[in-house]
């Protein structure tokens, strides 16, 4: 009882709180270039500045109260997130130059990397089916103006 634990407890609440303080502080800093105005004549900076201050306040509250709770491991599976996010970005980039079918095929093949169990034949089959499905829905069904193939 006499010895107080002074180590920082690392948990979700602490990270969430710090993240909020960061976002709020940045938004406040950025919002300062717009006129604050007065209550009767609010400028464009009024709401962003007030809200970012509240955000900082809540973030601080969360960070402080997080110390009342036990530590928990904060695990973020960045690998899988990056694979899926990268495949989405690549898919979008390929959409115009390579056509919907090709882009969808490449996107699905890459995103399936996140799944360790899938075999190569399964991966190709899945990509073909999804690419065909997407082409059918968007180009044939909805008449979207988009190339299907290369060139």
């Amino acid at each position: 009882m006499a010895t107080r634990n002074l180590t920082l407890k690392v948990n979700h609440e602490l990270f969430g709180g710090l993240l909020l303080i960061g976002i709020g502080a940045y938004a406040y800093y950025h919002g300062q270039q717009y006129a604050f105005g007065s209550l009767a004549r609010m400028g464009p900076g009024f709401l962003p500045q007030v809200l970012s201050m509240v955000l900082c306040g809540i973030g601080g509250l969360l960070a402080v109260t997080s110390q009342l709770k036990p530590s928990s491991t904060v695990q973020l599976q960045w690998g899988q997130l990056l694979i899926v996010a990268a495949s989405m970005a690549l898919f979008a980039l390929l959409l115009r130059p390579a056509g919907l079918f090709t882009a969808a095929f490449v996107g699905v093949v890459i995103s399936s990397w996140a799944d360790r169990e899938i075999t190569w034949p399964g991966r190709i089959a899945l990509a073909l089916v999804v690419a065909a499905l997407a082409s059918l829905i968007f180009i044939v069904g909805l008449g979207m103006n988009m190339p299907l193939w290369w060139g």
Partner: protein, 508 residues
Amino acid sequence: MINAEAFHAALSLLGNTPAAWLVVPPGLIIGLFFGSIPGLSISIAMAVFLPATLYMDFLPAILFLTAIFTGGGFGGAIPAIMLNIPGTSSSVATAFDGYPMARRGEHAQALGIGLVASVLGTLVGYLLLLFTVQSISQWVLRLGPTEMLVVAIWGVTLIAVLNDASISKGIAAGILGILISTIGYSDAGQMRGTFGSMYLLDGIPVIPALIGFFAASELFNLVGKRYIVDDSALRVVRFRHILDGMGQAASKPFQLMRGGSMGAVIGAIPGVGASIANLAAYATAKQRSKDPDSFGKGNPSGLIAAESANSSSEGGSMITLLALGLPGGAGTAVLLGAFALHNVTGGPRFIRENTDIVYALIIGNMAQAVLLLIVGVGFIFLAGYIVKLSLKLMIPIVMVLSVVGSYAITGNMVGPITVVATGIIGWLMRRYGFPVAATVVGLLVGGMAEGELVRSMQISGGNLGFIADRPITLALLALLLLSVLPRVIGSMLKRRRATPRHSPRTPS
């Protein structure tokens, strides 16, 4: 109560719009699919298919999305009954009695009961909407800027507070959404937060952001996660058993009505919706039952209560959406996005000027419910296979749909970039326990709320005491406090207790 002239106009409008009927069966099937695969939710389905409505007229577009909504309502019941895994957060109570029935070998009966309860629940919800929409819009017309401001705050606060997450996290999530909504031209025409990029002049594109927050963030979350389906027995479904279950449900009209009307009323409260309605109706049915001990052991009445309530809450939530332009949850948030896509602003003026469209929407939805009865029976035969469809097949489909859809909306890379960026933000938020739905609602109503705030303050000359002269504002403020207070007090009492939560899904 019902404007007869507009009602006739609505019927002829529906008769003359074959497209409105063509899109309903695919919508129902999409909803059934997404609802019945554990790990996917109705809001994902609605968000990724929202861009598909770009090429439709307003009425077919909304009917298509509500068909997904309706189909998903019953779809969620299928894995709840067959595998004890609620497909969506709105079918949690369905599993309580549905799964024990399935274990007794009565899965086909249980699915039949669930189907009839869903269909009748949807009908009850929309019937209520049909009778109240006119009078509610009359009343809402009296609301001025201060009242609308309070209503907007109320909507965001309720979604933020009535959630699994802690109150402060919910409010922070809502504020984050409003902050994102301030990017771009402000109400008064100044540019804000564009970082000098011309792509951000119009602000963050709402629909790609919605797809990112609801669908992409969940996608990042689902990769690598596997719902373990331990039940490998392939169950035989007989038509006779489905009919038997449907008969069982139909023979309890009072219970259907009770569940349905509870769901509709609860659904009309912003932030509550189907995920609370099914639990509340289940609890009531258990309380009022002569044999409460049989609940949880496969009592059909529990199933009826849960399914009728989660279906009727859809109609209830449409009341808030149409009358106030305020989304009550993830599903209606997507619908509000569709309104924006078609340049329609929900609210009393919309109801008054387009009563025929509103009635057509309601009648169309009731017809949808009846169609669900037919499509649903067919779907039950496939259900055994679909609930076991692996998530890894659905992940690439959702990915492709969200990217192509967002590209279609903006016509350039801004859409897909927004999806990925908001997807990552949403993924982080889910990881740290922030409710994503609150951010989306903040984003959707932020612009409106800021406009009303500026106008209120201009009228009052910056004097906050001004609201003392506005009784409706005061009443709404009191209502706001009353609805939030129980949750605040409840969480304060719980504060000291450490409550580790392991819920597999968060209501989104």
